[in-house]
């Protein structure tokens, strides 16, 4: 009996050790899956409500069809993943797995609280953003490997739009790094004392980062890479079964990671932790998750409001508006430092 208790204790300790908890539970794999299941269902419900209808309902009707995505996932799992004869098979099969993986990787660099993290690095912001930047390259490879005209067009669109969002995304993130004087995500949260949130200090960087987060994960109105009514499913046209499920989930995971980064950089991260939830790491994790979930809901709500921009319009927005705005946010940060608003 004693032995069993100690075994249980050992497993619990192992699970709550940071190097396992962060990649596996929060903000890693388990939370990623729960967030995908929730947000895709909620996106469909929101769009349906705005269009005065119900959306998914009949799978567990008491909760408004909340486990619709579980049913979809099961369907994807048991559907046959067809690999067309003319594709580059290795790249075709590995592509979605790498894409999903690349979207999940950056979670290891995201701290859960001041004392709970998998890796502590002075450049953890750059680590997270750099790992995120793997995704578009893999999307390009998928687009080429699928050997399909829609995939190719989608892949090229991804290539174009990557150039338009990646640079301003890094600039607006780095403007916050300049403001706080650090690239360590933990120190960034520590610098946001009281209500001096990054959102209030540098709203320009916040708005550009949010728009670019929408753009980089093909949420509306920038759903250009997978424009369903134009190029079927963009780079992912040839996929079926669970491979398709992974490609669809990957953009949501990337959006989730960007929302985590946004809440850390602009919304005070895990602070303020309510006193009844002070148990590290659960309390801070819940606060961080709640903030990013609110952001994600805001992001997916755009589906109900906007149509889709053309690729040239999106590129114009990226290069002509967002890039100058993000450079402006750097100067805003420098001005705030010169004025002595931040220490």
């Amino acid at each position: 009996m004693m032995n069993l208790m100690s075994l249980f204790r050992w497993i619990l300790d192992l699970l709550f050790s940071p190097w396992l908890f962060v990649p596996l539970i929060f903000p890693g794999l388990v939370t990623v899956f729960l967030v995908i299941l929730f947000i895709i269902w909620f996106e469909r419900k929101l769009a349906a409500k705005v269009q005065l209808r119900y959306g998914p309902l009949y799978v567990l009707k008491q909760l408004g069809g909340a486990i619709q995505l579980v049913a979809d996932l099961l369907r994807y799992l048991f559907a046959e993943p067809i690999i067309p004869a003319e594709t580059d098979k290795l790249a075709f099969v590995l592509g979605p797995i790498l894409l999903f993986g690349a979207s999940c990787f950056p979670t290891v660099a995201i701290p859960v609280s001041s004392s709970f993290y998998a890796i502590r690095s002075d450049i953890s912001l750059l680590v997270a953003l750099g790992l995120l930047a793997f995704g578009p390259a893999i999307t390009l490879i998928i687009g080429w490997a699928s050997n399909n005209k829609f995939s190719l067009i989608g892949g090229l669109r991804e290539g174009y739009i990557t150039m338009a969002y990646e640079i301003p995304l890094f600039i607006s993130a780095l403007s916050m790094a300049a403001l706080y004087g650090t690239m360590d995500l933990i120190e960034m949260v520590e610098s946001q004392v009281g209500w001096k949130w990054g959102l209030l200090l540098n709203p320009l960087a916040a708005i550009t980062f949010l728009i670019l987060a929408l753009m980089s994960t093909s949420r509306f109105p920038f759903e250009i890479v997978e424009a369903e009514s134009e190029i079927v499913m963009g780079p992912f046209t040839e996929y079926s079964g669970i491979l398709y499920g992974l490609t669809m989930g990957a953009s949501y995971v990337k959006f989730y990671v960007l929302c985590l980064l946004f809440s850390i950089m602009f919304l005070g991260g895990w602070k303020p932790v309510p006193s009844f939830l002070s148990w590290d790491p659960i309390g801070p994790a819940l606060v961080l998750l709640l903030k990013s979930l609110i952001l994600m809901v805001l992001g997916v709500f755009m589906r109900a409001v906007y149509p889709r921009y053309r690729i040239d319009q999106a590129l114009k927005i990226g290069w002509h508006m967002i890039l100058p705005l993000s450079i402006g946010s750097v100067f805003l940060s420098l001005g705030l430092i010169l004025l002595g608003v931040v220490p």
Binding site: K49, V50, Q51, L52, R53, Y54, V305, Y306
Partner: protein
């Protein structure tokens, strides 16, 4: 102010207005009719499936001629074929309908000189085979099958609301 203009401020205002409209629609009640549980009352003169009265049919064939989808067809009377030969009068032809082709335009109902063909307020019938949807004159006469629901549905009727557009309220 600068609404609708393509200045940066005007465009920003337009974006905010779009989002505001979306949020406003979140709080408007839904207009879905939950079909198998709720069934909409059909109005007078609804173009549903078609009933046929052989007693007053004069076999003029106009319905088959007017049918734009080629769903109506005249069939030779079966009984006269079976007897065969025995100083029979010229066999008559009667219409049958193919519901895989019918577009429910109601031309046949309009053109029928004796009113032998008319609509009934049934439109939600499922067939289990392709052949079952082709009604020979004999089946055509018995009319479309009865609709069966698992549970008796609530009846609703549409009402035009000046503010919200179409809404549904319980019938009777």
């Amino acid at each position: 102010m600068s609404k609708g203009k393509s200045t940066p401020i005007g465009r920003l205002i337009n974006h905010l207005e779009a989002i505001e409209t979306g949020i406003k629609y979140l709080f408007i009640p839904r207009m879905t009719v939950m079909y198998p549980e709720e069934v909409m009352e059909l109005p007078e003169g609804y173009r549903g499936m078609i009933k046929y009265n052989k007693e007053i049919c004069i076999s003029c064939g106009l319905c088959a001629q007017i049918c734009p989808a080629d769903a109506m067809k005249m069939y030779l009377e079966e009984t006269s074929l079976a007897k065969g030969g025995e100083k029979q009068a010229k066999p008559k032809r009667y219409p049958g309908i193919n519901y895989t082709r019918c577009i429910f335009c109601g031309f046949c109902v309009d053109i029928c000189p004796t009113g032998a063909i008319e609509h009934v307020s049934i439109h939600d019938v499922a067939f289990d085979s392709f052949e079952a949807q082709i009604f020979k004159p004999k089946d055509f006469e018995t009319g479309p099958p009865k609709v069966r629901y698992k549970k008796p549905p609530r009846r609703v009727k549409p009402r035009m609301d000046p503010k919200r557009g179409i809404t549904y309220e319980p019938a009777d």
